[in-house]
Each structure stands twice: as structure tokens, then as C-alpha cells.
């Protein structure tokens, strides 16, 4: 049984009133091993190429409840080779997987946006694979800010 990790200072500028609204409240977080396993499962242990995948996220998130995320892969979307999936991992969340976007040639672009929950300051890792067998990866650190007045 994983020990409960020391609760990091979450974006609780509103104090403990925010706790009920936040998705995560001091639960055990995923280990780097969990994140690595999820990625290996997705890529089939292929080595990922850095670059080509960009992640747009704020550098500082006011709170972890709703953080805008955009992933883009700079690769053509032709019928014979297109980006088929992008997996997004949050390495400090209780569960590492956040979302998997799946594209078709009809997508036109391998670009997708959503809003995610962050338990703490952590890395967002995106891994993309193409039907042609390539794998790309990128990573970005998001700082979840610390509220001013304390609990």
C-alpha cells in the first residue's frame, strides 16, 4: 500500500474551501515508474524522438482544477502516414494518464486541446505515435501556484 504522500501546497488561495472542489485531496500520487509504464504500454517500448510535439500549458497554474492544455504534432496527416494517437501523462497525479487523443486522416491536423486537473506542480508528458511507426515525445513543467493566505 503506497504511503500517502506529504500533501503539497496546492493552489489553495481560497484556503480549505477549495479542497472539496479540487479533484484530488492529498491522495497517494503516481510514481515515476507508473508514468513510465503507461508510456511503455502506449509506445510498445519504441524509443521516442524529442521535438516535433509541442505542449502548450501555462507556466504557472492558478489552481489545479482546470488547466488549459494544447498538444500539437508537426507531422503530415496523409492516409498512408498520420499521427494516430497522442497520450498525455501527468507524472505527479494520483493516476498518470490524463487523456488519449486519437486522430484520423480526416482530422487534418494532429492538434487537440482540453482542460486538465493537476494535483501538484508536475511534468506533463505527451507521447505521439504515427501509423508509419514513429514515436515523438515532449514534456513541460507546470507549477501549480501556492495561495497567499494559507489555510
Amino acid at each position: 500500500m503506497r504511503p500517502i504522500s506529504r500533501r503539497r501546497a496546492l493552489a489553495l488561495g481560497a484556503g480549505s474551501a477549495a479542497v472539496a472542489a479540487l479533484a484530488w485531496s492529498g491522495n497517494a500520487k503516481a510514481t515515476p515508474k507508473d508514468a513510465a509504464e503507461a508510456i511503455a504500454k502506449f509506445t510498445g517500448d519504441k524509443t521516442a524522438e524529442k521535438g516535433k510535439i509541442s505542449i502548450e500549458l501555462p507556466e504557472i497554474a492558478e489552481n489545479g482544477n482546470t488547466v488549459p492544455l494544447k498538444v500539437s504534432v508537426d507531422a503530415p496527416m496523409q492516409a498512408d502516414n498520420y499521427v494516430s494517437d497522442i497520450l498525455v501523462i501527468a507524472d505527479g497525479n494520483p493516476l498518470p494518464r490524463v487523456v488519449t487523443f486519437r486522430f484520423t486522416p480526416m482530422s487534418g491536423k494532429a492538434v487537440a486541446s482540453t482542460r486538465i486537473r493537476l494535483a501538484t506542480t508536475e511534468n506533463i508528458i505527451a507521447v505521439a505515435k504515427t501509423t508509419g511507426g514513429q514515436v515523438f515525445t515532449g514534456q513541460k513543467l507546470v507549477k501549480v501556484t501556492i495561495g497567499g493566505c494559507g489555510g
Binding site: 479533484a23 490524463v98 487523443f101 484520423t104
Partner: protein, 107 residues
Amino acid sequence: MAATPRLKLPSQAKKGDIIEIKTLLPHPMESGQRKGKDGKPIPRKIINKFVCTFNGKPVFTADLEPAVAANPYMEFFAKVEESGTFKFTWTDDDGTVTTAEQKITVT
């Protein structure tokens, strides 16, 4: 009692255009991590799948986990070559399916 999805996409486009599609479904996305007043975890209940098709063919799909924020928002693109209907489907953990449609005229 399904919530009403919100959609934002053009109703007209030129052949070969890559259009932007924005969708949102009001939904609490109960993650399963929160604890209730009694200290027991509130069970997970999220939208776990989002599918967009055009004239019946898949365009874009997302597999959602509890880390997707409440009122799941999906923004993506679609290349249109002909007129037709976009259909959007959201699937809840409990099996409920919510759908929405919008037509587009492509010239």
C-alpha cells in the same frame, strides 16, 4: 437527465478547408479521488469517451481519464471535402450516451 452539449463549428466551409471544432459537455467529472463528508471516497463517474464522426466516419476520438477537468472541453480539427453532418458522442461511466449533431455545407 443529460446536460446539453455546447458546440462551436462553422456551418459553411470550402472543400479542403481544415475547420476548428470546439465542444463542451456540462458534467462534474467526479474523479473518484474526492472524499465526502463521511470521509469515504465519492465514487468515480466521468465521461470516459468522446467521439466525433462525419457522415458516419470517425474523425477524432478521445479517451478521457479522471484528470480531465469538469465540463470536459475538446477542441480539435477536421478536414472537410463534402457537405454532411458532424455527430458528437459522449459516453458516461454509467453507460449513458449523450449526442449532438451539426450540419455543414461545403462548397
